[in-house]
Amino acid sequence: MTRINELFQEELKIINMGLESFNENLKKQNVKTVQVDWKPPTRRNKKMLSLLDKLK
């Protein structure tokens, strides 16, 4: 029983990152879904991204 087969038994619950129309279509099919209001990692500048990565 691979983990993919486990998925086939579960109720689909989706995180949608990107086109909102995909999210709306999923809602029309009564699928539990959440739309991520995604923005590029740090909107300001590369410096902050590098600082964050140093702490990772």
Binding site: T2, L7, K13, M17, G18, V36
Partner: protein, 518 residues
């Protein structure tokens, strides 16, 4: 003159907005006349006087809002209405559902999520896909232009964590009967599908549904899974999963012709387990498939028919003909309408795999086919905007879609192309596919009708009849009504065939019968 109208039942807009609309739309160069107002008797009467009235407008009530617009051509009308929509739908600050800002916070908000659907721009999509896999979530990656090495890393990581990594550039999948991204609504049934091509899966699943059977799962792997470097990682994981899945009785595999080695590896997986399987390698060698005990599909339709036959315990027969009874009568009638110089077929496709299948069938019947995605390098069109002899165009290919929405959503490019195609005196037939389902345009046929009418008028000016043939890839349960879409085409005299393969074969038959009757 192009008349366009918009009706919003029972809706009210503040009069300042309406005044701005009237004033600004009138200023748009090329707009002849516009009338904006509520559907009162007098307004309708006045609209009639300005011959801006349509049957639909006649039916509205005083509490319905309408705009009727007469402009030089359709682009102007489209521009005007885009402006109007923007003003009318200036979104009030409604509070919809909560939208977390990052993947981590989405996870916190919905910890039991099991699939992440990603359609972000390529260079960010990989980072988020890896993030999802590291959090043990299956992934469907819709975004394209992802470097091959990144795809391989992602698929290796997914395999190691025994997760699905569908994509990149995977537009179609139906998991637990949920249509993801561009997919159709298909009945439940015993057939499980793994496909490396979006519209290929759509055509096969739609055919299965039309034949009264259904599917258990439809897994997409993205177009490059069977390339040598990728080695069919996800195709193999998908096949194993279907083999272990109690609800799947027949397995169908769809792909463009794969790398030889990878084909053997994948077919041997099918060989090991006892479940029967049908394999369509888009023009690949059927013998290799038979060698491994799988049934070769000769077309997408044939693949579906064979899978349904196995599922129903019926005998398996190749199918390369027509299911339409009076097919010969149609061929004769159409041939008669064509003049001597009309010899070529022009295919205008929104689905890549449907275009491939059309080229495979046509090149065997009528000779060289030219395209922006040719089967053989010498078939490449020098200018993709200018067809040559028999030409089939895939408007979904990168060259057409960069920076523009996919043709299945926005028909604009194909609308323009049909008008230029009919100007060519040597063309006999125009082939068009219409793909329904979630993700596609809400009225794909409706969008093309005005252009089909105009195309016919252009040809009729110098006495030419253009034979138009189409197939509609959709099911009754799709958001767009299949019957409604087919009816609109028939009303325009377009011949609607039950499958892409039969539409293409009909085109070939007419062209050949025209050549022979010379």
């Amino acid at each position: 003159m192009v008349l366009k109208y918009l009706i919003r039942e029972n809706s009210y807009y503040d009069s300042v907005t309406l005044m701005i609309i009237t004033r600004e739309v009138k200023k748009i160069e090329g707009v002849k006349e516009v009338i904006v107002g509520m559907g009162t008797e007098l307004n309708k009467e006045l609209t009639g006087n300005l011959n801006l009235l349509t049957p639909e407008l006649q039916k509205i009530t005083p509490n319905d809002f309408f705009i009727s617009l007469d402009s030089v051509d359709d682009n102007i009308a489209k521009k005007a209405f885009a402006f109007v929509d923007e003003l009318l739908s200036k979104k009030k600050a409604e509070s919809e559902d909560y939208q977390p800002s990052t993947f981590e916070s989405a996870l916190k908000y919905m910890p039991d999520a099991n699939l992440v659907l990603i359609s972000l721009p390529g260079k960010y999509a990989v980072r988020e896909a890896k993030n999802a896999l590291l959090n043990d979530k299956h992934v469907m990656l819709f975004s394209d232009n992802v470097p091959l090495e990144e795809e391989i890393d992602l698929k290796k990581l997914a395999k190691q964590r025994r997760l699905l990594m569908m994509g990149p550039d995977c537009g179609t999948a139906i998991i637990n009967h949920v249509a993801l991204a561009f997919s159709n609504v298909i009945r439940k049934g015993p057939i499980g599908i793994v496909g490396a091509s979006g519209t290929g899966i759509q055509e096969v699943t739609v055919m299965i549904d039309k034949l009264g059977s259904g599917i258990s799962q439809a897994i997409g792997t993205g177009g490059r899974d069977l390339k040598a470097k990728v080695g069919g990682i996800m195709m193999i994981e998908g096949l194993k999963a279907l083999q272990n899945d109690p609800l799947t009785e027949v397995i169908v595999l769809i792909s463009k012709p794969p790398d030889k080695e990878v084909a053997r590896k994948v077919l041997s997986i099918l060989k090991e387990r006892q479940k029967p399987s049908v394999v369509y390698f888009a023009g690949g060698d059927p013998e290799v498939i038979k060698e491994y005990g799988s049934v070769p599909g000769l077309s997408l339709e044939d693949t579906a028919r064979k899978a349904v036959a196995i599922a129903k315990g019926m005998s398996i027969k190749d199918f390369t003909g027509f299911t339409v009874t009076n097919i010969n009568k149609i061929i004769q009638e159409e041939t008669k309408k064509l003049n001597k110089k009309q010899r070529y077929i022009r295919g205008l496709y929104t689905g890549g795999t449907l275009c491939d299948e059309a080229m495979i069938i046509l090149s065997a019947l009528v000779g060289d086919i030219y395209s922006n995605i040719p089967l053989k390098p010498e078939g490449k069109l020098s200018d993709i905007n200018k067809s040559y002899r028999h030409s089939l165009i895939d408007f979904g290919d990168d060259e057409f879609t960069r920076g523009k929405p996919h043709p299945m959503i926005d028909p604009y490019v194909r609308q323009e192309r049909i008008l230029s195609e009919v100007k060519d005196r040597e063309i006999a037939i125009i082939l068009m596919d219409f793909v329904l389902g979630f993700g596609s345009n809400s009225d794909p046929v409706g969008e093309m009708i005005p252009y089909i009418k105009k195309a016919r008028k252009i040809a009729a000016k110098d006495g030419r009849h253009i034979c138009m043939i189409s197939s509609v890839c959709g099911t009754e349960a799709d958001p767009q009504s299949l019957i409604g879409q087919e009816k609109k085409l028939k009303e325009e005299g377009v011949i609607v065939m039950p499958s892409n393969a039969q539409a293409v074969r009909l085109a070939a038959a007419i062209v050949l019968s025209r050549r022979n009757s010379q």
